[in-house]
Symmetry: C2
Subunit: 187 residues, 2 copies
DNA sequence: CCGATTATCGCACGATCGTGTTATCAAGGA
DNA sequence: TCCTTGATAACACGATCGTGCGATAATCGG
């Protein structure tokens, strides 16, 4: 038997190189060669784990969503219910350096998805998951009819995220805005 | 004197070709050649009006924002104050086919701006303008302290727009959500 | 009608793109 | 130790990229 590597793990490693290229140089700089250079592997090796560029991008898009979803699912923040809700939602927004990179990547893929049905499908799953999270939080935070609250909360969170990514709001301003909204909901 | 064309007008015509390529094929398909083909001119002619590709994209980005801003500024919808506010904001969201295309273009440029400081600067002006519009509407709609209302309204509008663009919400659902929020503000 | 000037085209250049193909390397069972 | 087989590198191919450049067409003052 020859040398065998864990394909799943290697694909993750290569997807992370895609993320770093997007975060550093922008989504327009993605190519097989730039990702290969970023990962430290040859373009031929990259091809061994992804048949095409589109397959690489789809995997990188799915994985950044899965990672964020899993991270948020595992959260168990301390404090009151109101504080817990704020902490969970803060993890979905570009409020620190790491989350800013993550949001930029998701946002870049979202724009690619506007012209690529395969990517768009992945994106819709992400938004459904985030809505479900908002619905779960809304159920805990306010009594009765949580769907309307969840829809608006979802819009507020994503709107503020876009405003931070675009440089329109500072992370602090967005955090304050989210807190003010949650205070109104809870109070 | 030789033949002279209106450079400003020709640049607009070429920018509109950029928009059509983005709307039909996605932002990843923009190139000098695809835009030239879409516009019906040669790539050499295109170069006569834009020195570089980046200059073309920056102009197309600025123009789509300027066009939308001017269109909204000229709006004078009928009805009550509440109805007027709803009509103006609806024009900023992807709720019909034309606005959907316009929002897609802005969104695509926004993603490019994440990796291109020159484009990012244009985008910030757009968000400032949209915030000013929300501030103006908030002042009319609710008494006292309009800044907090404007910030949240701005986030709701852009959040709903993203959800429509991503296929997460139907245009009708987003319109209903906006209406519900405005009703709460006014009532 | 002519010359000056602008508009437009078409192509060439080097770079880079995605994707095959081929060869070499490495590792574990026979 | 050798052989099988997966891992990896290196390169070739055609296409397309942004851009520069020279030739031609079109236009109007003289």
């Amino acid at each position: 038997m020859p040398k065998v590597v864990d394909h799943t793990e290697r694909r993750r490693e290569l997807a992370e190189a895609v993320w770093r290229v997007i975060a550093r140089d922008g989504v327009a700089e993605i190519s097989i060669r730039t990702v290969a250079a970023e990962s430290g592997w040859s373009s031929g090796a990259l091809r061994h784990y992804f048949a095409t560029r589109d397959e690489l991008l789809a995997f990188a898009s799915e994985l950044v969503i899965a990672r964020a979803t899993e991270r948020i699912r595992r959260l168990d923040p301390p404090g009151s219910l109101r504080e817990q809700v704020g902490a969970v939602l803060a993890q979905t927004m570009p409020l620190d350096a790491e989350r800013h990179i993550e949001s930029s990547i998701m946002f870049a893929f979202l724009a690619l998805g506007l012209g690529d049905p395969a990517l768009a499908r992945v994106q819709r799953l992400h938004f459904s998951g985030m809505y479900d999270l908002c619905l779960h939080l809304a159920r805990q935070l306010v009594p009765g009819g949580p769907e309307a609250v969840a829809r608006r909360l979802h819009a507020v969170v994503d709107g503020l995220s876009v405003h931070v990514l675009a440089g329109h709001l500072s992370p602090e301003a967005a955090a304050a805005e989210l807190d003010a909204y949650l205070d109104e909901l809870a109070g």
